[in-house]
């Protein structure tokens, strides 16, 4: 959400991408450094092991370099990389749990978001309460809805891009999103009301 966490404009990305496809190492280096943070953060939603996430991002770029001659030139760079990282991480977690390394089956299922409420933007009690409720509801969403909300509202991807990242149809994305938002709004009102009533009577 902070401006520096956003990679450069997508048109710059596409120029870099095409230069990278033709074997330009400098372009490759730029692509990797400008997308590393976004990919690292996205990867951390699937695993708490930050070293594993770093390794995965590095593997992703090594793979991209190896098969650059077979890649399409007209991809949307950021979603394409996110999708590839997602596949790669799921593949390696499932192969790890196959070997029997710890409780990684759970990790395969995970999509963890963490929020914090920064009070300096809030000028009254009721807004603060509403924000806290919303935070709680977001945390309680099922993992696929959580991921859709993350990609849509915190990574600002379009419906089509989300469908590419999560490997589902655009219609599924719309459905997931609709259910999630409905959930957030409905419960939010109810919880807010109960809280308010309790507050009044104590």
């Amino acid at each position: 959400m902070k401006p520096h966490s956003q990679p450069p404009r997508s048109s710059d990305d596409n120029v870099l991408w095409q230069r990278f496809l033709s074997g330009d190492v400098v372009a490759f280096e730029h692509l990797m450094s400008s997308h590393f943070r976004v990919l690292f953060r996205y990867g951390c939603k699937f695993s708490r092991d930050q070293e594993f996430v770093k390794d995965s991002v590095q593997d992703l770029f090594l793979h991209l370099w190896e098969k650059r001659e077979r890649l399409r030139a007209d991809v949307a760079v950021k979603p394409y990389m996110m999708a590839s990282l997602r596949r790669l991480m799921h593949r390696s977690t499932s192969s790890k749990s196959w070997v029997g390394e710890g409780d990684l089956e759970k990790a395969d299922e995970a999509f963890d978001l963490e929020f914090s409420v920064e009070q300096q933007y809030i000028n009254n009690e009721s807004t603060l309460v509403r924000t806290r409720q919303l935070e709680k509801l977001l945390m309680e969403l099922p993992k696929r809805q959580k991921e859709v909300v993350y990609l849509k509202f915190f990574q600002e991807l379009s419906r089509e891009q989300i469908s590419e990242v999560m490997a589902v149809s655009p219609q599924t994305v719309s459905n997931l999103l609709q259910i999630a938002i409905k959930q957030l709004k409905k419960h939010w009102k109810a919880e807010f009301l109960t809280f308010f009533l309790i507050h009044l009577f104590i």
Binding site: F36, F40, C44, F61, T127, R130, L134, E135, F153
Partner: protein, 374 residues
């Protein structure tokens, strides 16, 4: 934008266009929304709430340092460069073709011998300076070395045999002998630590960190030497500290004596040592503190005091050299109370008042002024 009329607070919070305006406003969105709010005064309260919620609900993202990203990117680029130069490591299928020419086989063997010889040579020469830091003390006390690694998130205090205290920051690593040598005390640091060294003028204290040697007699200072960074910084709080590179050809001689040689740092000074360029930059710490005791803190109340006197008083209190031309500044009177400001704020205010400017050069403050006579 008519459909926004019936929006609730929640509707606004999850509206893409609304979020865009709140989180990264542009000229156009700013104008559009301001106009809309003017025409829909009753929605003002809702907008304010929704705005507060969108702004305050922050997604907590894990941090990763730029230096760490650079390190991994460089490593990756190094790997692809290596695999492109020697493709036969990656693709064994190509081997038979190349090796069917006998002269190529010979050429390849010669090249291989040359390259491996060069690698062995360069590795063995590069290792040389490292020997001083790690190999030597370990040989001397093989069985009495302690290594402490602070794996917690909080600072950790390590007490040394001579009464010195080391505060190790999270993820820092320190290695030292349980019993120091008769002639010198030595520790090895990776990461960040604050040292409060017991005075012992007979036995200088040495810290080795990422290629930089810090030598002190009895002082307190902070060293930051992260494994993945090429820079080492040393910040002095009290006393004097001398630093030099491990690669310094006169290292033996400089470490031997009791005097402080090399670059000498005073309180509030800081050095940035860059390993790659073998270069040291002396500057001031970010927030210099007064070196005099709390009880002796001078009053910084000035009334028609010549600026030259003001600078002298401040320089003394902070133990910092302030360079100025007393002839020019004696005609610049200053009236101000500067008890609660940091050093930089003080300097800034004074310079504003007497139309001067200042810069930090080599760990000193230099005042530029044209005088105040009109």
């Amino acid at each position: 934008m008519d459909h926004y009329k019936d929006f609730t607070v929640e509707d606004f919070v999850w509206d893409t266009f609304f979020r865009q305006w709140v989180l990264s406003p542009t000229r156009e969105t700013e104008d559009l929304w301001e106009e809309w709010i003017e025409n829909n005064a009753d929605a003002h309260e809702k907008i304010q709430q929704a705005k507060g919620i969108v702004l305050s609900l922050r997604l907590h993202e894990p941090e990763i340092a730029d230096t760490e990203i650079t390190r991994i990117v460089n490593q990756t680029v190094g790997r692809i460069n290596a695999s492109d130069k020697y493709p036969f490591f990656e693709e064994p299928a190509k081997q038979p073709k190349v090796y069917s020419f006998p002269w190529l086989r010979i050429a390849a063997s010669v090249a291989f011998l040359l390259i491996s010889g060069w690698i062995i040579y360069s590795l063995s020469t590069k290792k040389e300076p490292q020997k001083i830091s790690f190999a030597k003390p370990i040989q001397e006390h093989k069985d009495s070395i302690t290594e402490k690694w602070n794996s917690s998130m909080k600072a950790m205090t390590v007490l040394l045999e001579d009464g010195s205290k080391v505060t190790l920051a999270a993820n820092g690593r320190i290695r030292y002998a349980n019993k120091f040598l008769a002639a010198k005390r030595e520790v090895f640091l990776e990461g960040e630590a604050f040292f409060d060294i017991a005075k012992d003028s007979e036995r200088p204290f040495f810290v080795y960190s990422n290629g930089l040697v810090t030598k002190v007699l009895g002082t307190s200072f902070t060293i930051k030497a992260y494994g993945n960074s090429n820079e080492v910084t040393v910040e002095v709080k009290t006393g004097r500290v001398s630093v030099f590179a491990e690669s310094d050809p006169e290292l033996e001689q400089k470490t031997a004596g009791r005097e402080l040689q090399g670059v000498v740092l005073h309180p509030n000074q800081k050095i940035i040592y860059s390993r790659e360029e073998v270069r040291m930059v002396k500057t001031l710490v970010e927030k210099p503190e007064m070196v005099v005791l709390k009880a002796e803190t001078p009053q910084f109340e000035f009334e028609d005091t010549p600026a030259s006197e003001v600078f002298e008083k401040i320089g003394k209190a902070y133990g910092i050299e302030i360079l100025y031309d007393p002839e020019i500044l004696k005609d610049c009177p200053l009236t101000a109370t500067l008890d609660n400001q940091t050093l930089h704020e003080k300097l800034f205010i004074i310079c504003q008042a007497v139309e001067a400017s200042y810069e930090i050069l080599d760990g000193q403050v230099v005042i530029h002024s044209r005088g105040c006579k009109n």
